[in-house]
């Protein structure tokens, strides 16, 4: 034990770094978890891309998530493109880059999916598409998803991941909050189920609209869920905020999340919930 402590207290000056050796290790082999800071071998992330130590779910694209989430999927509205309402400088370039990276037209993937025999409308936001920000097409795709689900009498399952409103689309981005909310309400009034899974990060205008309007609100472990950004809070109030203030676990404690679900268990959990809510009136 003594030896162990000494090792722990070794400072940089005691260690001669073999720089050549460290250069031989390709980057990406060792990964540090952004939440618990533990380092681990990259293969330990596994197919779900989860920290083996704290279960934090690394950010993944919508299509990566789709791979293991459902048994079948039929995409809709994949061709809608924003008409750049503010004619915002360099916005087009950003869009093209994100489209190539995520293989999506905008920050959410929508369609109809099946897990075994359970049919449902599915939306997955992509944190790599301009930070998952909500543009007009994001709002349009989600609105259409809820509208079509209402017509077809299907439940909606939505994975949120967003930095909030998309400032490049100004006030039109803001209006999406009201537009999608109205579609969610209509879907709900038709007696249909809406399950949301909050993933890292869910913030701003998305938290302040459809992320918080579901019948059942699940979250992935240690994902950041909040309204205002940490920096904005600290600058406005002049106070340091605890580092876990916006962790899903804290948000659950304050009463805004039903359950935290491991990524590897999501599919089964959804299947169970969808089955449970099978409409028995027909």
């Amino acid at each position: 034990m003594q030896l162990f402590n000494e090792l722990k207290n070794l400072s940089a000056k005691h260690i001669k770094v073999n720089k050549q050796a460290s250069q031989k290790v390709p980057s990406g082999i060792w990964i540090a978890c952004p939440k618990c800071h533990q380092s681990f071998y990259h293969k330990d992330l596994g197919q779900y891309k989860v920290c083996p130590n704290c279960q934090y779910g690394f950010r993944i694209t919508a299509r990566q998530r789709l791979n293991w989430l459902v048994d079948s999927f039929e995409e809709i509205d994949a061709d809608l493109l924003t008409d750049d309402p503010l004619q915002f400088p360099d916005y087009q370039k950003k869009l093209i880059k994100s489209q190539q990276l995520t293989k999506l037209n905008d920050s959410v993937l929508t369609g109809f999916a099946q897990i075994q025999s359970e049919k449902f409308a599915l939306g997955i936001m992509d944190p790599f598409f301009i930070m998952g920000s909500m543009g007009t097409i994001t709002g349009e795709k989600l609105t259409r998803l809820f509208e079509k689900a209402t017509q077809k009498q299907l439940p909606v399952v939505l994975f949120t991941a967003s930095g909030g409103a998309r400032m490049q689309e100004g006030i039109f981005s803001l209006m999406q909050m009201a537009k999608v909310s109205a579609a969610v309400k209509q879907h709900s009034d038709a007696g249909l189920l809406y399950v949301v899974i909050l993933t890292d990060p869910t913030t701003g205008g998305v938290t302040a609209s459809f992320a918080m309007q579901a019948d059942i609100t699940l979250a992935e472990p240690r994902s950041l869920i909040g309204f205002a950004g940490k920096r904005v809070i600290e600058q406005t109030t002049g106070q340091k905020i605890p580092s876990d203030l916006q962790d899903a676990e804290t948000v659950l404690k304050h009463g805004f999340i039903d359950q935290i679900v491991l990524r590897s268990e999501l599919k089964n959990k959804l299947k169970w919930l969808l089955e449970f809510h099978q409409r028995r009136d027909s």
């Binding site: 309402p85 503010l86 915002f88 400088p89 007009t136 709002g139 609105t143 409103a165 400032m167 689309e169 100004g170 006030i171 039109f172 981005s173 803001l174 209006m175 999406q176 909050m177 009201a178 537009k179 909310s181 109205a182 969610v184 309400k185 209509q186 009034d189 701003g204 205008g205 938290t207 302040a208 609209s209 459809f210 992320a211 918080m212 309007q213 909040g226 309204f227 205002a228 950004g229 904005v232 809070i233 406005t236 109030t237 106070q239 905020i241 203030l245 916006q246 804290t250 304050h254 009463g255 805004f256």
Partner: protein, 262 residues
Amino acid sequence: MSGLLDHKKTAAEIVKLARSDDKVSVKFLLTEIFQDFIEFHGDRVYGDDPAIIGGLAYLNQQPVTVISTNKGQTTKEKLASHFGCPEPAGYRKALRLAQQAAKFKRPVIFLVNTAGAYPGRSAEENGQGEAIAKNLYEFSKLPVPIVSIIYGEGGSGGALALACGDRVWMLENSTYSVLSPEGFAAILWKDSSRADQAAEILQLTPEKLLRQQVIEGIIPESHSKYRLVKAIKRVLLQEIDQLQQMTTDELLEKRRMRYRKF
């Protein structure tokens, strides 16, 4: 009718005027537009947020529910209301009073002047996002006319939560945007001092917003606050009268379409 007709103000000038300390106060609006305003407190969950003032009043002979943001006049009031930035309790109070209005079939009027929802630790802990989300959700189907007047700043989701009804009007010197010009400049250029430039790009002036059909109209600001109040009152009476002629189904369908087009 000064203002609109003389030199065209830049977006940055309008931002300054919208935030000015001389801006008409909520107390003045409540006592001059309405008769017999009586304030009701509390969200019935855990608190009462002074950043939102709400209650009952007559608009001429018409009973209405009025809900307004409040920046406060004295330093003490300003601090208590976080300079007019509502906490979740404020949004929940607004929802409670609006639902009460629906029960008794009276229109709801929102007067909005806020830089945005309060970004603070307590606000996060008490579900700022959830509170705004619930307002958007419930107001989309509230079965009575909802008219909002933005009379200063209309800051992001914090303003939208009180301006998501049937009609939205803005005073000539007011703004409505997805984030502040400073925040915008800080994100875009990592330099909040370029806020003036940001204000232009953001298209946050009433004129721009009217053209984009985000709002229904602009109320000119004259030097006389009494004349301004008269103009606001005329707009409210006219809008409420029009909205009351519709059936509830018509009203709600029109409201849905108002946002569906964006």
